[in-house]
């Protein structure tokens, strides 16, 4: 569905990606994980050409990403941002309907689609369509962000730390809901995070990035049970500690 072939990216004198090879399969949810500055967000942005590679190529649905104009390409790919990035001067409905508007849909069709999308992300349209983004909680804003990204029925979704700015309760709920949406809509998703617990929970496959290269790609089980390198193993420290702690607490919790 998406393939990176020997992609490198250089920002002035800093090499962010050095020969990246990665394939994202149709219908899978791939989590791209790594420390800050490892190049995971850069990788994500290469897919919808918010940035262009210095060398190598990116294939989207079997064709080079550069085969169509960036604008056409982006209208077929949804993107969700960590800080939501809703347009503050537009209502919820106008935010969600932005891509239909760009595509020139008529008002009736856009309205129907917006209502449908708001229902999909569990925001009742009658209550939320005319609100300003600033009047919503973080979780609600990200639901709007998700609905906006899904508006034109994209087959590919790019999520840039989508749950990072949410409180734990909202995060858990939205994570689970997104996983369901992904499956129900048959999406192909790349989700960027630095949270291994989130990756283990959501991913079909996890790609661990270290210094602009892929250190390991595998199912959560493969990565968890046999990390390919000490650096990958380091990412697993936190979930492991959590697991043992929870086991210990669970033991005590069983006491009557």
């Amino acid at each position: 569905m998406i393939r990176f072939e020997a992609v490198s990216k250089r920002f002035s004198d800093r090499l962010v990606l050095g020969g990246l090879d990665l394939e994202v399969r149709e219908g899978e949810l791939l989590v791209l994980i790594g420390a800050s500055g490892c190049g995971k967000t850069t990788t994500l942005r290469l897919v919808n050409r918010l940035i262009e590679p210095t060398s190598g190529r990116v294939l989207v649905q079997g064709r080079p990403a550069s085969a169509v104009t960036a604008v056409e390409l982006r209208r077929t790919i949804g993107m969700v941002f960590q800080r939501f990035a809703l347009f503050p001067h537009l209502s919820v409905a106008d935010n969600v309907g932005i891509v239909p508007r760009l595509l020139g849909w008529d008002a009736q069709r856009t309205r129907a689609r917006v209502d449908e999308l708001l229902a999909l992300v569990a925001l009742p349209a009658e209550e939320y369509r005319d609100r300003a983004p600033a009047m919503l909680s973080g979780g609600q804003q990200q639901r709007v962000g998700l609905a906006r990204a899904l508006a034109a029925r994209p087959r590919i979704m790019l999520l840039d730390e989508p749950f990072g700015a949410l409180d734990p309760a909202s995060r858990d709920r939205l994570q689970a809901e997104y996983r369901k949406l992904h499956d129900a809509l048959g999406l192909t998703t790349i989700l960027v995070t630095h949270d291994m617990t989130e990756a283990l929970l959501l991913a079909d496959r996890i790609a661990v990035m270290v210094h602009g290269r892929i250190a390991q790609v595998g199912t959560p089980g493969e990565v968890f049970n046999s990390p390919a390198s000490p650096v990958v193993a380091e990412h697993l420290d936190a979930p492991r500690r959590q697991l043992s702690r929870l086991a210990a607490l669970g033991g005590r919790g069983n006491d009557p």
Partner: protein
């Protein structure tokens, strides 16, 4: 008799004369306010249309941004009066266009700067989000960047509006009527009511526009489109309504007119209105009124261009945008003809007339019968105390004395000539508005002034005029000039011929004093009527 405005306190001293005077000034208000709103509104509109796209380009390109903001910043450092004055020679004409262009240039900086700041202030993640949804750069600008920058842009428009409304009062000296006409003429004729009406109207206009723009800004900030549209509609109404004000105003059409004015016989006019000019002092206003009265009396249509800068008036006449005004032979002799030495009165008059006809096709219809010369004048007690009777006597004492003059004298060749001839080295040189220098010498703030010899205040304040024994200063006969367009127009020549030689200096002084004095003040029109009635042979 003391003519100091502040010591009289203008609201009290003028109280009895206030009502008719106020009525007259308010009567002129619709026409001038309308002109003011028209030139201000158009300047802001054009400024906005220029600055907004430039700001968009400048926000995206560092180099264009630096260049555009730099250039606009330089324009802003030019004083507005100078910028307006510069436009006249640059465009080769006076009136509406130089005023408009100067005001447009003036309005560009705040709008440009705020557009750049506003656009650069749009959060990067929103731009990224816009691009990610597949917006083209035009759509991104229209849907995301401009709406988000709009409140900041509007704040710039507000700044520009207040600046331009203020600066537009200074378009009077370049020939564009504005509320400045009331301020300039009022200052020159010591008519504080006129000054107040002009200032008040300008301030009121600025405040009204600012309040409406603030409302627009606030409602856009609240994203309430209905009320924002209402505020915008109010602004448009104000500009359009204001611009049409002169048409609506009863009894006024085209040029200015007043109760009792003799109306032109429209059917008899094929040449278009005769444009009559006046420089920025009382005598000029009175003479322009007298010329207008004579022309209208002959059934000619008249347009007035008041409060023109000295060189603006001559250039306008030369280029055919002005048809008639009164100049002074010495001014042309020294400044236009660049003659350094003085010469006898008749010789200067003859030389000036010949030169005007040969080089510019201007007809000197004749001298009016009086001189308005630069006259070194002192308070009588001070002159007697120092034992000064002539400019020559000043030379040894000048290092302890201060000389006051109008704006232009110290940069005129006459000053160089008189300074060199007598070896004058004053302790200080002070430039005043000419209407204020008489008070300054009367109060002792300066010791000597370069008074105007036809000014009634010389006698009224008991000033002594010092002799010029050499002489170093040329004669300054008032001379009636006809521009190329009407130089051979029989009707004009016939109507104005009667003024030639008809105004002796004592009559001009009395007419000037009627307008300039604090008590029993008359309008320039009244003084002109008196001048025409009292002239011998009429």
């Amino acid at each position: 008799m003391h003519h100091v405005a502040s010591s009289h306190g203008w609201p009290l001293s003028a109280a009895e004369a206030m009502t008719p005077n106020l009525a007259e000034q308010l009567g002129r208000l619709p026409e001038l306010l309308g002109q003011h709103v028209r030139v201000t509104g158009l300047a802001l509109l054009v400024g906005l249309l220029l600055a907004l796209p430039l700001g968009v380009v400048a926000a995206r390109s560092r180099s264009v941004g630096a260049a555009a903001l730099g250039a606009a910043g330089v324009v802003q450092t030019i004083p507005s009066l100078a910028l307006l004055a510069l436009m006249v020679p640059l465009l080769g004409q006076f009136g509406f266009w130089p005023a408009l262009i100067a005001l447009v240039l003036y309005s560009v900086l705040p709008i440009l700067r705020n557009t750049v700041v506003g656009l650069r202030g749009v959060p990067g993640e929103l731009i990224e989000a816009g691009r990610a949804t597949g917006m083209t750069s035009g759509q991104l600008l229209r849907i995301v960047e401009l709406p988000l920058a709009l409140p900041v842009v509007l704040a710039g428009v507000r700044t520009a509006t207040v600046w331009v409304v203020g600066a537009a009062t200074l378009s009077t000296p370049v020939g564009q009527p504005s509320l400045g006409n009331l301020v300039f003429a009022g200052l020159q004729t010591r008519n504080w009511t006129a000054v107040l009406v002009g200032c008040g109207a300008a301030a009121g206009l600025a405040v009204t526009l600012d309040v409406m723009l603030a409302a627009l800004e606030r409602e856009l900030g609240r994203r309430s489109r209905g009320r924002a549209a209402l505020a915008a509609a109010g602004l448009v109404t104000l500009f359009v309504g204001g611009a049409l004000l002169p048409l609506w105003s009863p009894g006024v059409s085209g040029g200015r007119s007043a109760p009792g004015a003799i109306r032109a016989d429209q059917s008899a006019v094929a040449r278009g209105p005769v444009v009559v000019g006046a420089k920025t002092f009382t005598e000029q206003y009175i003479l322009a009124e007298a010329i207008e009265l004579r022309l209208r009396g002959a059934g000619l249509e008249v347009k007035r261009a008041d409060s023109l800068g000295s060189s603006v008036a001559f250039d306008a006449l030369r280029t055919g945008q002005l048809d008639v005004y009164v100049e002074y032979t010495g001014t042309l002799w020294s400044n236009a003809m660049k003659r350094a030495s003085a010469a006898p009165r008749w010789q200067v008059t003859a030389a000036v007339g010949a030169w005007l006809a040969e080089t510019h096709g201007i007809r000197a219809l004749g001298t009016l019968g009086f001189e308005n010369a630069y006259a070194f004048a002192m308070r009588r007690d001070r002159a007697e105390q120092l034992g000064v009777r002539s400019i020559a006597d000043l030379a040894p004492k000048a290092s302890r004395l201060r000389l006051g003059s109008d704006y232009e004298f110290f940069s005129r060749p006459e000053w160089v000539a008189v300074r060199e001839a007598y070896g004058l080295g004053f302790a200080g040189l002070v430039s005043f508005d000419s209407s204020l220098m008489y008070d300054a010498v009367a109060r002792g703030e300066v010791d000597v002034i370069t008074a105007f010899s036809s000014d009634g205040r010389i006698a009224a304040l008991d000033l002594v005029v010092l002799d010029d024994p050499l002489p170093a200063l040329p004669p300054y006969d008032a001379i009636l000039l006809l521009g190329p367009r009407v130089a051979n127009d029989e009707a004009v020549v016939k109507a104005l011929g009667a003024l030639v030689g008809g105004i002796p200096v004592d009559r001009m002084r009395r007419a000037n004093l009627m307008v300039d004095r604090a008590a029993d003040k008359r309008s320039p029109r009244d003084a002109a009527l008196w001048l025409l009635e009292s002239s011998p042979g009429r």
